[in-house]
Symmetry: C2
Subunit: 477 residues, 2 copies
């Protein structure tokens, strides 16, 4: 446990100053720390362990769907980076560039990867030549660099951790299926692991990724009513294939360009978890993603038998597969309660001399702060049920919050009002001018066009022309 | 499977040109590929999967011994990097430096991390202030950059993957214990996972790490008689703690500097595996580290029932926990045999119509190319036994090779002769001049001083003065 002696300070109220509350939680729950270079954060053990849970979940899903992990170079020669025009325009303003190697100036400047499309393209051009080589479905876990001016822990940084998948396929159909399959995996990640109900759908041309034909996204509603783009999945068509000459001889002997996708989620997901579930006492973690699911706090620890019982309890729970810890440090129980509330540990088990005598334990749930007395012999079953209940009710609560903050809007005033508290569900003519107008008047942007396109009026909620699409607008991080 | 149509070419003989054989195996077993920047390689799925096996093993061991994973920034401000003098002198000639961010020249140059000691030090200085905060035992998995002129896949590169552990402790004793505990974990990694018997011991002052008080290493003997340093563990004393002001209030209320360690292994281990076990047919992987432990090759695949039987076999083995694949592509069985021999898959199971009729399978071991017929109903048990036998005999063979190539030397001529084929086990006076002399005359260097210091003569094998240490010399990669 970190820094015990300086912890247990209170944090800014969530509804007093949400931004300050957020950074307080990031630091006091010991998820991260700042380094001496602006925008580069340190992922502390507790924050990194959340990321490892996400990695484990996704690696399992990616493997089940035939993906393979690889590792590409950290650097991209400037000339290679410049090969696909739209793509380079999207990224060039925010790259970090190396110019010196050892004592010498480099012959060619090297971009520290902001994303690795061009590296995958160059490799695929070398290893793909026949339909037999397809598909190639590669993923990599790494950090990327974006030279951002304004940074916030996990949300926007000069460096962040992510996975980036890059796949090439023989047909457009297959590539489009891949794009959507990944989006579904991301949606399930929210539902099954993070207890976050993502809004999913397609991005408008204005909001899509540099170089993509289509971008799909997962969006989460934060406690303050803003939306956080938490992952994207892109269909590239054959644009990169043409630029990088990734072609294959098909069964019909004709040379064709591959159809390509890319997709990624990042440590931004940690920001989502904090801002969807956290409260005035700190972080609240869904049990499935929590590095510590159960914390055992002994009461009157110096009394004979208490520590021994606590250790037996820990061993039993660890053996049953729970991620469990026992805090046998010399801090008071009250201090420990506050400590693990701040860290959002889903379930706390307390046991003291009287509990041991009565063969019971006190179980406290972090999410709703409820307490129940449970029978010691049933602890494995009961803890399992409690954790599942917590997971389910956290998802349910987030879902209710989401649905309460989606407002169907029929005109621009309703839209501008709705984005103050959550999503405006609008009808849209499809013109960029309408998106630009909203952005001018409220800083809100279009988030996604959902798959469920159930029209609720015939005219665009913004300009009044004929509507083509259901679309969500929100202020976004 | 990659590039089927261009595979199955023969490789250079191992004893014809070992260096060329090595790069042939790296590429034809599809472990890696070159990128367009010299020294930066692509870790292809099969190579990366070996690294993931190593990661899994070490993460388990690190966790069992109370270590926690973190992630530190990719960049180090030049002024911070320059804070510990010996350390910076060791690394400065081979750093990659970023000077440009977005459109602007950086105010301070940023070193792309060659190792992260100074970052951990800066962080520890912030979070450690009391004996209660100690020990801190952190590890990180990442890539590092060394601006090397001469590069070889996995052995020496501008970028490689590694883990770097950095720990701080309240006492010298505890820090020294940590250094040795990690060395033992590395030794076990060799013995249990890689089937490599590492020579372990302490490095001389000449060969130790920049800034360390003591460096311990694991060395492996390659097929060509050269030694490969495969991992190191350092005790730093309080040097970094003084330079970075990492101090803690001890139980006696006195402010003291922490005692520090660092340690790491890298993707160089993949080079060890290749050069210890590989043969003229390609890679040979020990079962415990092999991404594919069993490959099923159906014979006369078009005959009714063959593919179905092969699939049932695969499912049964996968369910039993083996890493198993079935190659049902339209290549010939002969092609497939060569393919998976090149990739070093430990066990091949063949089944054709007659085998199915007789309720048997043919099992071929990659390491000694032996074949046995096994009963289909016993396949799970038999495969398990065969894989364990392969693992054990690979370790045994490597151990014999090692012992046959350690020669006790009594004078400089014997030493110079011994290092042509393996290790010279020498007595040494402890003077650097003797190391320098050997280096001048043969390019060999001292590797380690083993823990078992059983003296075999009283005088230094090099200069004839009084001997102080048993030491191994070898030519090294």
């Amino acid at each position: 446990m970190e820094n015990k002696h300086i912890k247990n300070e209170s944090i800014t109220g969530r509804d007093v100053d949400f931004a300050k509350w957020y950074t307080d939680v990031c630091r006091k729950a010991e998820l991260m720390d700042y380094s001496s270079v602006k925008g580069f954060i340190i992922y502390r053990p507790y924050g990194y362990a959340i990321w490892e849970q996400i990695q484990n979940y996704l690696n399992r899903k990616f493997k089940q769907t035939g993906h393979q992990n690889v590792y590409m170079p950290l650097v991209i020669p400037e000339s290679l980076f410049n090969k696909e025009k739209e793509h380079v325009e999207g990224f060039a303003p925010e790259t970090l560039i190396a110019t010196q190697g050892g004592k010498e100036k480099l012959e060619e400047r090297l971009i520290i990867r902001p994303t690795s499309e061009v590296l995958f393209c160059e490799h695929y051009a070398k290893i793909v030549s026949s339909y037999r080589d397809l598909p190639k479905k590669y993923n990599q876990w790494c950090s990327v660099i974006r030279w951002e001016k304004t940074t916030r822990p996990f949300l926007r940084g000069a460096e962040f951790l992510w996975q980036e998948g890059h796949t090439v396929h023989a047909s457009e159909y297959e590539a489009r299926q891949e794009t959507l399959q990944i989006l579904e995996i991301y949606r399930l990640l929210g539902e099954e692991l993070l207890a976050i109900p993502f809004l999913t759908g397609r991005k408008t041309d204005k909001e899509k990724f540099a170089g993509a034909m289509e971008t799909y996204g997962i969006e989460a509603l934060m406690h303050d009513g803003k939306s956080l783009q938490s992952g994207t999945s892109h269909y590239f068509g054959t644009g990169f294939a043409e630029a990088f000459n990734i072609k294959f001889q098909d069964r019909d002997n004709i040379l064709k360009p591959v159809h390509q996708t890319s997709w990624g989620v990042s440590t931004r997901l940690i920001g989502s978890i904090i801002m969807v579930h956290g409260d005035d006492n700190g972080l609240v973690l869904p049990p499935h993603v929590a590095p510590i699911q159960i914390i055992i706090v002994p009461i009157q620890m110096s009394k004979p038998g208490v520590l021994e019982s606590a250790r037996l309890l820990k061993d039993e729970l660890a053996k049953a597969g729970f991620r469990v810890e026992l805090d046998d440090s010399d801090q008071t129980p009250g201090w420990k309660f506050a400590e693990y509330e701040m860290k959002g540990v889903p379930l706390r088990l307390e046991l003291g001399p009287r509990d041991i005598e009565n063969n019971v334990l006190v179980a406290a749930s972090r999410n709703d702060r409820s307490k129940v007395t449970i029978n010691r012999p049933d602890v494995v079953n009961t803890a399992s049920q409690l954790l599942e209940t917590i997971q389910t009710s956290m998802l349910e609560k987030a879902r209710q919050h989401l649905h309460q903050h989606i407002i169907e809007v029929h005109n621009i005033d309703e839209l501008l009002s709705a984005v103050e508290t959550g999503y405006a569900k609008a009808m849209w003519c499809g013109e960029r001018a309408c998106e630009d107008l909203i952005k001018e008047r409220s800083s809100a942007t279009s988030r996604v066009m959902p798959f469920d396109q159930l029209s609720f009026q015939e005219t665009c909620s913004i300009c009044g022309k004929k509507a083509k699409k259901v679309i969500y607008f929100a202020k976004a991080y």
